[in-house]
Symmetry: C2
């Protein structure tokens, strides 16, 4: 099997496993399949659950597209790629839970090939966006991602963690979208350039998606909450919308290039709220979230520590 | 009184009149005043009503800012303006009604001066965004705007109407944000270049805001609706968010230049919804909205006409 087929097979198997496990956990919501074609070549399959018991919306999309000419934005970055055919495949998922104490989650792994596969790279990452901060969740999430990275290359986690903090930053709010995670582009530039090693890393990354997140869901999904917590969650989701529509490269690129709109905007929360000049009460759990939206070395964080006020 | 002071006085008087009349109409909601300073010079006053009986959110903002150097984006358009001090003032308002049958409304009038007022221009416009289409509302709105324009220059309405259709277009959805209205930039280029004539046009424009919209509110605000109409309204508001965060020049410019975030995002709806691949039922009132989101010559529309399917 050639390289691109091996990656596509991996991503499709990942999608099947993920939606099966999410349906098991949710116990009420079912994924609906939605396939789409790209006029220029290729297409994708989005799996979307709406109105679940645990997940208000869960979307897992796998796409594989190709074209006769590398898009201009990529040709600029890779002069050797200009005018060559390309192939791109990826899995991307966004989970918006019902319970405000359960963080939202996003992960994406992707592979790009130019010409006769002489130019290729992997990219990806995973990050978490809580409405209420829990240090133990942030520590667990980052430790799991660090362990995964460390199994492959000890230089990965420190770089990818900082990339993630930088990337998921809402400049106009001067805050991070969430508590970060890992984010990397063009893995071979930091890794060994060994395709098989890169592939193994991505495979492990996909296998790490649910173990990094589901234990946190299970810990929070039955916590009691009321209208106050729901309203705060909806308000925080407004920030999620702001990030995705204003800054997210995948989203803005997709909108500019007329990709499949429904698949691109699958990341939008089902419901979001804006409030003029909202100021959470001093020292409230809502106000304390701000301390989580700054870059922190969560993998080394001692749970006995207090977050500086 | 110098020119800039005359414009600021006009806009502030307009703001006072508008919020007074909106409070009268709403009968429950009250505007809260929120003043802000711009670090580089100047500031503004936002008046915001939330949770009214008629308006879920109403915001009317007046700002007057100045600086020692024209922003780069403007210097590019006006080479003569580079390195010169500037002054900018404007009134901007966004109304998000409670009742899904009442359209959302937006208007903005603004004035810009460079150097010793040797370079100046006015800009502005008003547009309406229904969730449910009513031809008589679209006709009334456009006729009122056309009458206002025609009082000053018969060439204005046809130009400004087309500008508005072009500007409020959600490219990735291939639909207009609403039923349009008028939109113009750098009025003196199309008008006579006569400052007093331009000022009178803007004054009349501000006086036309409420007469173009309130009769429509009054006609729709007591129409009975249920959960279906509310959900559709929230879904359509998602499009409003998409337009404002992805395309609106004022919003994107404001976010990039770190303007006052709360004043910039005052335009966001209080609550908005996204649904994966939503397809309104064929021939339903929701599906029929699509016919309103195309450029139409509403001012000449005969109410006996049927909208082409």
């Amino acid at each position: 099997m050639n390289r691109r087929d091996r990656v596509v097979k991996l991503l499709k198997a990942g999608q099947t496993k993920i939606i099966t496990d999410l349906e098991d956990l949710d116990s009420k919501g079912k994924f609906q399949e939605y396939s789409w074609q790209r006029p220029g070549g290729g297409g994708g399959t989005a799996q979307v659950m709406e109105g679940g018991k645990v997940f208000e919306r869960a979307g897992v999309n796998v796409s594989a597209v190709h074209g006769v000419q590398v898009p201009p934005s990529l040709a600029q970055k890779h002069p050797g790629a200009a005018d060559k055919p390309f192939f791109a495949t990826g899995i991307s998922m966004v989970l918006h839970p019902c319970n405000p104490y359960v963080p939202a989650f996003h992960a994406n792994y992707r592979y790009f090939e130019v010409g006769a596969s002489d130019i290729w790279w992997f990219g990806g990452g995973a990050d978490m966006t809580p409405s209420y901060g829990f240090a133990e969740d942030a520590v667990y999430f980052h430790k799991t991602l660090k362990d995964f990275c460390d199994r492959h290359n000890l230089s990965y986690y420190p770089k990818f963690k900082v990339n993630c903090d930088d990337y998921f930053f809402i400049k106009h709010r001067q805050e991070m979208r969430g508590i970060g995670g890992i984010f990397f582009d063009q893995l071979q530039d930091v890794g060994t350039g060994d395709w098989e090693a890169n592939f193994k890393f991505i495979r492990d990354g996909i296998d790490t998606i649910l173990p990094s997140y589901l234990p946190i869901v299970k810990r929070r999904q039955d916590m009691a909450y009321g209208e106050r917590e729901r309203q705060w969650q909806l308000y925080r989701r407004g920030r999620y919308v702001e990030f995705n529509l204003v800054y997210d490269r995948g989203t803005t690129f997709g909108l500019q290039t007329s990709g499949n709109i429904e698949a691109i905007l699958m990341s939008m929360p089902p419901l979001a709220r804006w409030e003029f000049n909202a100021q959470p009460e001093l020292n409230s759990p809502e106000a304390k979230l701000a301390e989580y939206l700054k870059p922190r070395n969560w993998a080394e964080f001692e749970l006995e520590e207090k977050l500086a006020g």
